[in-house]
Symmetry: C2
Subunit: 285 residues, 2 copies
Amino acid sequence: MKKLPDISLVNGKLESSVPVTDRGLHYGDGLFETILCLDQQLILRAPHLARLWRDAVRLKITIDITALEKELAQLQAMMAALGKDAGVVKIIVTRESSGRGYSTGGCGGSNRLLQFTSGIQYPKANRDGIRMALSDLKLAQQPALAGIKHLNRLEQVLAHSAIPKPFYQEALLCDSQQRVIEGTISNVFLVKDGKLVTPGLDQAGVRGVMRDHIMDAIAPPLKIMTSEARVTLADVLAADEVFVCNSVFGVWPVQALHVREYAIGTVTRRVQHAVDALGFPSVHA
Amino acid sequence: MKKLPDISLVNGKLESSVPVTDRGLHYGDGLFETILCLDQQLILRAPHLARLWRDAVRLKITIDITALEKELAQLQAMMAALGKDAGVVKIIVTRESSGRGYSTGGCGGSNRLLQFTSGIQYPKANRDGIRMALSDLKLAQQPALAGIKHLNRLEQVLAHSAIPKPFYQEALLCDSQQRVIEGTISNVFLVKDGKLVTPGLDQAGVRGVMRDHIMDAIAPPLKIMTSEARVTLADVLAADEVFVCNSVFGVWPVQALHVREYAIGTVTRRVQHAVDALGFPSVHA
């Protein structure tokens, strides 16, 4: 069953389509953000826009941030008018249209697609632990694109589609050097000796807003030490606790990775509880 | 200056846009072909459709090939009606639209976008040799996607945009293991001791229709031996001749790669001449 977006705005206009020449379609030449919306407020709005901005600089895509902010406000007003409180706002920014070929010559701006989809509900049980499969697909290493939430997502499509559901809810992705990188829709944290460790993302993976939020804003006041490191599968199997996170569902403890089982530990619960203040329990039912 | 397509057909209808939910836009979840059209005929039509089909099987995208063939005929009829003889036909096939998220559940079909762009003209001088830069970007190794002409093309966008034009016309891409793979818009062949060698594409790169055509149909009747191999930069520098190819421009000899200069040799000229029978001289001016 396909849940289609309730509202779509293309460069500020209510549209259900984008130009056939758009470079997002032709080359995946663009970026995206998925932002949780509760009580018509965008959760972690500032870090999402900051990440979009940072990634756009790396790909040399020019974003009219004033127009984007205006359109986000427009979208929120429409949600209010439709009586929609909660859902997910997706922002896609592409390097607009171009003539035939890869050349970015003449692409001085970008196209903005904003979508609101209501009725996001994850299984409540996920909050008390998910099972993670080990993905057969190994992420490619590409430092020029690592960390960026760009539109070239075939690896995630293949890996996500291969998860043996419903027994497993997520899959862990390693790179071709057998380093642990992330989940298909989440970043991953290990707890070892009371400290948080998350994989570095300089070779592969998406640098998630929730990942950075936990590192920068959640762990420090809880006096939990954090570090970014090269993480091997052996490290994950030797960890005391494991959890995954993203900015739409918050924190899900990992109760099993392949054949290894984990107790849901106190550090995971403390982080989950602190993150929950943003409202994540309400997107689970 | 942007040259926009003369005709666009979306699933057989004259349209200038695609749905905002299309997975080609959201994830680059799709494939494409660019086919030279001369005298309203699609050059190497069968191998292009065969490649599309082969890649679709690898990505598990279902293509309605009957509808696609009908739409290609429709496009050619429209070209005739508009008096357009020559140009490029681009086929994009995406894993249609889906709800939020990577899951391909419910995506049983695909969307077909056909575009015709007239007036393709490459510099005539390229037929007597181009200069190739060495790209700083190293292609990522991803066996699950290697060889496929999919829509995740950010590496090509970045590499192509970094070519120092007009002095260089193309750039040579290696992978992170320093193996030579391809050009940004072309495949590459070396000539060594009268034999053709082209890089294997099991880790990275696009398996071009012209590359396979030269291997399978051009070289054998010319009694030129061919092989696919692991090719290093040292191999390229030690080659007697180098050329690049694709199915839109045919064969361009390489007269210089970075600081190494090559004579345009007889093997390159024989292959170029044989390939030219398909009509490539006419797309140069």
